[in-house]
């Protein structure tokens, strides 16, 4: 385990930023967000960012290809450039887990090379939680907020920040910072973990379980009559999907530049009326079906296709942001458990 005095944190950020691009969560209007580090920027005191960290690997929009028209010829241009190495500092345990969920979508055959390019160049420094909120339920999905995944895991105490490398990328990052960080024992980290675990034990959503969900209850859940009341007030906006760290659906569209086409992909939302629209129309014509799709995906279809792994990390963003406060927790409470 390595250690750095908190007063040295700006120096650490500067040292990382000297070699590669560094992003960290900072305070901003409307809530914390990830920004590129420049001198003077400091780590937010907020628990988490409004938007998740998925943008780093799966941005809201990106250009996939360009088509240029010249006479009767169409030139196809790949607009990609090799991504530069970057470090994302201060990713919470929930978001850190979301990357391995996204990997299961984008890195299986056929591999999404746009995603892979970014993933390979990114180093994740996760930050253990010390003050979870009432909306947190990462425990439900077996995530340990006191010891998050990542290339490097960091623990921030009152006067120091501790680091432990968990991958080769993480080893390399810490090796580059050896002038600043020193060897330390893990007493303070152990103490923090124990203290935070006590808080985790009294979180109001501690009792929430995934019991009753998974790949083998597909038709039972699909046909549950409760979807009607659950989806009744849904506005059909995309807030839950867009703040969600694991929602990974996208649309591909063409933008007419006047002398060619820019083909881009952008986040899509199953809540939208034109989601998966095809020549015959939309397969889900009511908000009930669209609403059901989102939760069936996370709680049934995803585990069915991914060895039981659920498509939710319990970050609580949808709980905080849904305009009508309808969310996965309410769905799980209503539809969970074994049914006759």
């Amino acid at each position: 385990m390595k250690k750095l005095s908190l007063s040295q944190l700006p120096a650490l950020f500067a040292a990382i930023a000297e070699k590669e691009t560094l992003y960290l969560p900072v305070d901003a209007e409307g809530g914390a967000r990830f920004e590129r580090f420049t001198e003077g920027k400091t780590l937010t005191g907020e628990l988490n960012t409004v938007r998740s960290a998925k943008d780093f690997f799966f941005p809201q929009t990106e250009n996939l290809a360009e088509f240029k028209m010249e006479g009767k010829n169409i030139e196809v241009i790949d607009p990609r450039t090799e991504t530069e190495d970057f470090v994302v500092f201060g990713v919470r345990a929930c978001d850190a887990r979301s990357f391995s969920i996204l990997d299961k979508v984008f890195l299986v055959d056929p591999v999404d090379t746009y995603y892979k390019n970014r993933r390979e160049h990114g180093t994740i420094v996760s930050l253990a939680c010390t003050r979870p909120h009432e909306t947190c339920f990462c425990q439900t999905f077996g995530i340990d907020a006191t010891d998050p995944e990542g290339d490097v895991t960091a623990w921030k105490t009152d006067d120091a920040i501790y680091f432990e490398a968990k991958t080769e990328k993480g080893d390399r990052l810490l090796a580059n910072l050896s002038d600043l960080i020193e060897e330390a024992d893990d007493t303070a980290v152990k103490e923090q973990k124990e203290a935070v675990k006590k808080v985790m034990d009294r979180l109001p959503l501690k009792s929430l379980t995934t019991e009753g969900f998974g790949g083998d209850v597909m038709m039972e859940k699909f046909n549950a009559p409760e979807w009607k009341s659950l989806s009744e007030a849904c506005l059909g906006c995309g807030t839950c999907t867009f703040v969600c760290p694991t929602c990974q659906c996208y649309d591909i569209r063409d933008f007419n530049t006047g002398h060619g086409i820019k083909r881009f992909r952008c986040w899509d939302s199953c809540m939208y009326s034109d989601f998966t629209k095809m020549a015959h129309g939309n397969p889900r014509t009511s908000q009930l079906e669209r609403f059901r799709q989102r939760f069936m995906h996370k709680l049934v279809y995803f585990p069915a296709n991914n060895e039981g792994e659920f498509g939710c990390v319990g970050c609580g963003r949808c709980l905080a942001k849904c305009p009508i406060s309808m969310n996965i927790v309410k769905v799980m409470r209503t539809l969970g458990g074994k049914k006759a």
Binding site: G30, R131, H133, G238, T239, S273, P323, S325, V329, K330
Partner: protein, 322 residues
């Protein structure tokens, strides 16, 4: 109040006046209220809630609800009745299928402000002007005024402009300071104002929550969702488009927006979208005389009316435009 409302709703269900009740349903926490339809006294007793966190404007749901079988009871707060009236005026709600019970409101609490004031909220006890908040990290007292939603701080009216019956006394139209921030923006230079809005709108994630919650946005198919329109988009082709979305929307609801403030309440990025609408309201007031959308169901709105003394387009130059 909540108990009175439940009793009244149960009575109206029992005597057949209505067959269901549109209200607010308790959540997992003290503040996460969901609009819901109740069909029995049992449901009302176990889940119905009306308290300081019931901010949702229920009027827009009546577009759909009023097209279902039977009559629906809807509890409307004073500001919700303006949205309701406006929707009646636009022939969007079938009035005969709705029974409105006006309920008093002394301002609703902003959950965003509440969470900023107290971290890890487990419970909230309202004690007059003080909120006793139990958090994961201890007890904290918060001033109710400090966490009141912005739209409630500058409340325009405690008067119900539409109802079949009222619970409690009706209030008055209030003197409101709601245009103060608009005046501040007007006093800025064009460059400053442009920078202000570019910064605010840069946070937009195009979730459409503002549009979908807006009672004035009741088009069957929004132009931004219509592939055939040529401007349908789920994300911006460039960052300026994000800004245009909000400006176009503000133009579209101009003269119809009642200033209910739902757009700003639901914005996950806390963009003060209501300021765009308030600018239009203020301009309409100044150019065509005081007008409050939703105040009645009969009058002609300034922007859809013509009078000989209407201002000429050149007013733009007289007001300093270029």
């Amino acid at each position: 109040m909540q108990e009175t409302m439940i009793a009244r709703a149960a009575a109206l269900l029992a005597d057949g006046t209505v067959n269901r009740v549109l209200g607010w349903k308790k959540g997992e926490f003290v503040y996460d209220i969901t609009p819901a339809v109740f069909t029995s006294e049992e449901e009302l007793k176990s889940d119905f809630v009306y308290d300081d966190f019931c901010g949702n404007n229920l009027s827009k749901y009546l577009i759909k609800e009023s097209r279902k079988e039977g009559k629906v009871l809807a509890f409307l707060k004073p500001c919700d009745t303006y949205s309701f009236n406006q929707l009646i005026k636009e022939h969007r709600i079938l009035r005969d299928n709705v029974y409105i019970v006006g309920i008093p409101c002394d301002g609703k609490i902003s959950t965003e402000k509440m969470k900023a004031a107290a971290e890890g909220i487990v419970d909230v006890q309202v004690d007059g002007e003080t909120l006793h908040v139990d958090t994961l990290y201890g007890q904290k007292d918060v001033s109710r005024t400090d966490v009141l939603a912005e739209r409630c701080v500058s409340c325009k009216s405690k008067k119900h402009v539409a109802y079949d019956e009222l619970i409690g006394e009706d209030g008055e139209v209030l003197e409101s300071n709601r245009f103060d921030m608009v005046a501040k923006l007007e006093a800025m230079t064009p460059d400053e104002r442009f920078a202000f809005w570019r910064n605010e709108l840069s946070r937009c994630i195009r979730c459409n929550a503002c549009r979908n919650v807006c009672p004035a946005c009741s088009c069957e198919k929004c132009v931004f969702d219509n592939d055939a329109s040529g401007i349908a988009n789920k994300a911006a082709a460039d960052s300026f488009e994000e800004n245009m979305f909000h400006i176009i929307r503000a133009f579209h609801v101009a003269g119809r927006c009642t200033d209910c403030g739902e757009c700003s309440r639901v914005c996950p990025q806390q963009i003060p979208l209501h300021l765009l609408n308030r600018k239009f309201i203020k301009d309409i007031d100044e150019l065509y005389g005081e007008y409050q959308a939703g105040e009645d169901t009969e009058s002609r709105a300034p922007l859809t009316n013509y009078k000989m003394d209407d201002v000429e387009p050149s007013i733009v130059y007289q007001r300093g435009g270029k």
